[in-house]
């Protein structure tokens, strides 16, 4: 909403307030002013002139030499290039010394050898928004009506004011009008609001003889009223009216339509004028559209209507789309002599649905959608009728034709002073509260420690005590409310166990050289399906209206996005990546959601390129499977789960079948797979154009429950350990973990630890064989072990390997 200060001053005194002060007051009161602009944009020295003569420039085809009278005695000679300039026109003339927007100064000049004492201006050159002007005036100079010569153009076009641009929050639709803004400034300054003149001096003949109105759709229209104005002369509006509409961004059309728009801006009540002679039978009905009904709206579009859309109809057909736009079939034009003027309250949601569905928004629909003030239907009607009668020399017939389906009473709210002060944490006295309501124009009665406040219908946003408290707060000033600490019971702040786990992972992994990423939760359907085992056969969840097919389904695993990130980096020559993400995946078994999907927290990892880059003193080390697995082991160690996790060769789709492990966590029902670690399948790798990529994805939910954060201290060993190694050759397919497990089993309680320290394959061992070396540590907590005890345990371990794996001891 754009408000010009000179127009606003019709309704409230702005004396002693600069436009900037008004803007600051309104902003601190809750209506933000986005911009304050001087309407003249720095124009000075431009006056009304009269083109007495036009002759061709002797040396330039496109230029004319004009003799212009600016009321200063001597005529000016001005060279003008506009195609539409002509003798007999009144035009804006920038005289020598004049300033135009942007600080451009007009000087005496010679154009192709002919002297020019100034410039005839176009609307754009004067800083006006010429989009609202007819096309011929956009392309050429601005042609004015007959005016006193020499008058400053700033006066003529009402440019001596400022425009305030309001950024209204959805609740303050009451300020979509000059009166609404005046009431707001009244509340902020304590000044009274002056209502516009709206006395209707009419003809003796009765409206009822010419017009009847009826609401059929009574739930969709609370009040419909109309007046009849006969004998009007349709003509362009006077300049002051055009100026004001243009300042508000509305195109002037004719004196009838312009008045309806003018009064809409004044009251916030949209109005519509019909050509009375094109309304069949002089009867108006407000009803829902019929099945298959059509209407050509004023913008020339043929609209197919639906039965939920409200129309204004005469005896035969629809003549307007209620609250949205009038119909072409009843449009006021140059031949119109009798006018029916409509003012009504249509239901906001009905108008909104219609306007949305047709993609047709208007100044009227914008206001109806937000519910107009029922108390202004008749005053706005009368105001417009009196203005039309005045400007169009018409006569308003006696009486209003109306139908009322619903009446509105002002809301009365009781609020206690204790509640106000307790809610805000500010001591507001009874007098103060009453004064604030008084400034708002709300009547209030003081009771015992409380106020009964009557809220006028123009403030439809106020319906309960807290709404009144907000009015008090914003007018008392948010700045005047102190900052206090919360009193009362204290609460301990903390992280939940899952939050603590996620933070620990982030900290450890970033410390270890990994970078965290956050990906989009939406992905492409084909990418969502890359890892069915990680998606756990969940059905894809599709957005009803995606922004693009690329981002149309919810992710069911994290890896596809992480691969996308790797490709993005590869394209930017970032080849060495160690990335992780902690995020949510969405799983459902429903084709169409009827309940919320399962949201699972997942951890994902991606390594590619060098795990350690080359330097002057070392070669680069390429990331491999064991780097990825090592990250998981680090995580599990941090969570106290090293002993509960095992790895088993696995071949989930999308990963390299020889280089992937299922990660299993011991639980009540045995070891359960909680994720995978492995190398990306070579085919997929090729498709994505990546180097070797090692990835992992884990279910975090399982870890939250199992994580053991307790640290239990054990006394340091007091007796020495005995270290023994075993090196065996076994079949290549024997997992190292199985050898270690067998050793642990066979060596018994004396074995403190076993660790693989070397694995070797080579021709010497023969095809299909490998050598595995294990380091064993034996210890007794309470005494030094004897050589015999160690030898016996160790022999058992060796024997177990020989028996279970046909292991050959290497000497």
């Amino acid at each position: 909403m754009k408000i010009s200060t000179n127009w606003l001053a019709d309704y409230i005194s702005l004396e002693g307030l600069t436009p900037q002060e008004i803007a600051e007051k309104m902003t601190s009161g809750g209506i933000e002013i986005d911009a304050v602009e001087a309407m003249d944009k720095g124009v000075s020295g431009v006056v009304v002139g009269y083109v007495k003569e036009k002759t061709k420039h002797p040396d330039a085809d496109k230029l004319n030499v004009c003799k212009v009278d600016v009321g200063a005695g001597e005529d000016l000679q001005i060279v003008c290039g506009a195609a539409n300039v002509d003798a007999g026109q009144h035009v804006p003339v920038a005289t020598v010394g004049a300033k135009l927007p942007g600080g451009l100064a007009i000087k005496r000049a010679k154009l192709r050898g002919v002297e020019s004492q100034g410039m005839i201006c176009s609307a754009r050159e004067l800083g006006l928004n010429d989009k609202l002007l007819p096309k011929e005036l956009q392309e050429g100079i601005l042609v004015l009506p007959k005016l006193e010569l020499g008058r400053p153009i700033v006066d003529v076009l009402d440019l001596g004011a400022h425009v305030l641009e309001l950024d209204l929050t959805p609740n303050r639709s009451d300020a979509l009008s000059y009166l609404g803004v005046a009431y707001e400034i009244g509340a902020l300054t304590g000044r009274p609001v002056k209502l516009p003149e709206s006395a209707v001096f009419g003809a003796a003949d009765k409206t009822a003889d010419r017009l009847s109105v009826r609401i059929d759709a009574r739930e969709a229209c609370a009040h419909y009223s109309a007046r009849y104005i006969r004998g009007v002369q349709v003509a362009p509006s006077p300049l002051w009216l055009q100026n004001r509409l243009m300042a508000a961004g509305i195109r002037p059309i004719n004196n009838i339509v312009d008045v309806t728009n003018y009064v809409m801006l004044e009251y916030g009540q949209p109005l519509h004028a019909f050509d009375a002679d094109r309304v069949a039978g002089g009867s108006i009905v407000v009803r829902f559209a019929r099945e298959g009904e059509e209407l050509e709206t004023l913008d020339g579009q043929l609209r197919k209507l639906q039965p939920h859309m409200l129309v204004i109809a005469d005896g035969e057909r629809a003549i307007g789309l209620a609250g949205v736009m009038g119909g072409a079939n009843s449009e006021v034009d140059g031949d119109t002599t009798n006018v029916i003027l409509e003012s009504a309250k249509f239901d906001g949601s009905v108008v909104r649905r219609t306007s949305r569905q047709l993609g047709l928004r208007s100044e009227a629909s914008l206001r109806f959608e937000k519910e107009v003030d029922p108390a202004r239907v008749i005053p706005a009607l009368d105001r417009a009728a009196s203005l039309i009668a005045k400007l169009g020399s018409g006569l308003v017939t006696d009486g209003i034709a109306e139908d009322v389906a619903r009446t509105y009473e002002p809301v009365v709210i009781e609020v206690s002073l204790e509640r106000i002060s307790g809610y805000l944490g500010a001591d507001i006295s009874k007098l103060e509260a009453q004064a604030i309501f008084g400034r708002l124009g709300f009547d209030s009665e003081v009771g015992d420690g409380s106020l009964r406040v009557q809220v006028p219908t123009r403030r439809g946003d106020i319906s309960r005590d807290v709404d009144l408290i907000e009015e008090i707060a914003r007018l008392y000033g948010y700045d005047n409310i102190k900052a206090t600490p919360i009193v009362g019971e204290t609460t301990p702040g903390s992280l939940t166990a899952p939050q603590a786990v996620r933070r620990e992972l982030r900290r450890r992994l970033s410390d270890a050289g990994l970078h965290e990423v956050i990906s989009y939760s939406f992905t492409a359907p084909e990418r969502a399906g890359l890892f069915p085992d990680l998606a756990q056969d969940a059905k894809p969840i599709r957005l009803a209206m995606p922004m693009s097919e690329e981002r149309s389904v919810l992710r069911t695993s994290l890896l596809p996005q992480l691969l996308e990130t790797a490709a993005y980096n590869r394209n930017r020559k970032n080849h060495d990546l160690a990335l992780f993400e902690i995020g949510t995946v969405f799983h459902t078994d429903e084709e169409t959601l009827t309940r919320l999907p399962q949201e699972k927290h997942r951890f994902a990892l991606l390594l590619t390129g060098a795990s350690r880059s080359a330097a002057w003193n070392r070669k680069a080390e390429k990331a491999d499977f064991y780097d990825a697995k090592g990250v998981l082991e680090t995580i599990f160690a941090a969570l106290g789960l090293s002993g509960s996790v095992s790895y088993e060769a696995a071949a989930p789709s999308g990963l390299h079948p020889g280089r992937t492990a299922a990660v299993k966590l011991d639980g009540e029902r045995g070891a359960e797979t909680i994720g995978y670690v492995g190398q990306l399948h070579p085919e997929l790798q090729l498709e994505l154009g990546l180097d070797d990529v090692f990835v992992a994805e884990l279910e975090l939910g399982a870890l939250y429950d199992a994580a053991d954060r307790s640290i239990v201290y054990r006394t340091l060993p007091r007796y020495p350990a005995a270290d023994r190694d075993i090196a065996v050759t076994v079949d290549e397919t024997v997992p190292a973990a199985a050898l270690a497990a067998a050793v642990r089993e066979a060596a018994g309680e004396l074995l403190e630890s076993v660790r693989v320290f070397d694995v070797y394959t080579g021709e010497k061992l023969g095809a299909g064989r490998k050598s595995v070396a294990l380091a064993l540590v034996y210890r007794h907590a309470e005494r030094t072990l004897t050589d015999e005890e160690v030898a016996a345990a160790h022999a058992a371990a060796v024997a177990a390997l020989e028996q279970s794996f046909s292991a050959e001891l290497r000497k």
Binding site: T27, G30, E32, T169, P170, N171, R352, R353, G422, Y423, G425, R464, D467, I469, E470, A473, R474, Y478, I481, K482, A483, T484, P485, I486, V487, G488, E489, T491, G493, Q499, R503, R506, D511, G513, H515, I518, S519, S521, F522, I541, R542, A544, M545, P546, M547, L554, Y568, N569, R572, N574, L577, A578, F586, T592, L593, L596, P597, E599, R612, W616
Partner: protein
Amino acid sequence: MKERLEALQAEALQELQGVAGPQELGELRIKYLGKKGALTEILRGMGALSAEERPAVGEVANRVRGAIEAVIEEKAAVYRRAETELRLRSETIDVTLPGSALPTGAVHPLNKVAQEIEDIFIGLGYTIAEGPEVETDYYNFEALNLPKDHPARDMQDSFYITDEILMRTQTSPVQIRAMKAMNGKSPLKVICPGKVYRRDDDDATHSFQFNQVEGLVVGKGIRMSDLKGTLLQFVQEMFGKQARIRLRPSFFPFTEPSAEVDVTCSQCGGSGCRMCKQTGWLEILGCGMVHPKVLEAGGYDPEEVTGFAFGMGIERIALLKYGIDDIRHFYAGDLRFLSQFERM
């Protein structure tokens, strides 16, 4: 015997004068002082001496041994020093070559900021509540006082999945869930961080996916002045002790009264600069007193308890804090971006 000892000393000292290196020094030590050396050889004759003579000869023998040892020690020390000198010289390296640094990674900047915010509020006695990213229309809108035909509920603006289920457009539904979980008990102090989704074309300042942190306090006698006090404390911990706040009346369906909160510009300190568009203030969050209808939806009696709520965009704070020029960087995962957040 005395004479022989004295002669040995003289001979030894003479020979040690001309010693050529550490190896020869060792050989001389063995020659004179070793188990089979010259001194031992002479002392073997001690047995033939009388008991009166022995102490005197023993004394001479000790003196001779001491004198020879002292010279050997002295020479040995010189050789050791030279050897150390040599070693140090040969082991000298170029200390200006780069060291082998430990690998460094980084927590994502959005999580860094979120954790910082979380920690401030944990210190103020808040817990962290989380909720689903896919929400019901009821929790996301209706319970928050956005009735069915509210313009903010347009299909165009939200990612609906079905008519009743959508991607949450704000973290506020978590507030309702957190209130319900209290079963009417108070006080409740939570913050709710998380991802939210709005149907918006991506550009340098807009992203269809972004993060919010909201806070909620419900209890007996919670006042708007407490909201102001809480926010002031928060911004001073987040942006420094000199930070000030300004509340401007605004509108949110779920709070009444509502306010937008500006904080003094972190770049210029309030004097006006390009970042704050010369106003000296940066808009960083929205807040207000919890609307009675929202308290009711959360299972509270609005006559019994009151509450305040506030919310902010984590991206916005991160953009301001680090001076990042494009919001899309947060989601692209470019290593050159991520690695800029490795500092503490």
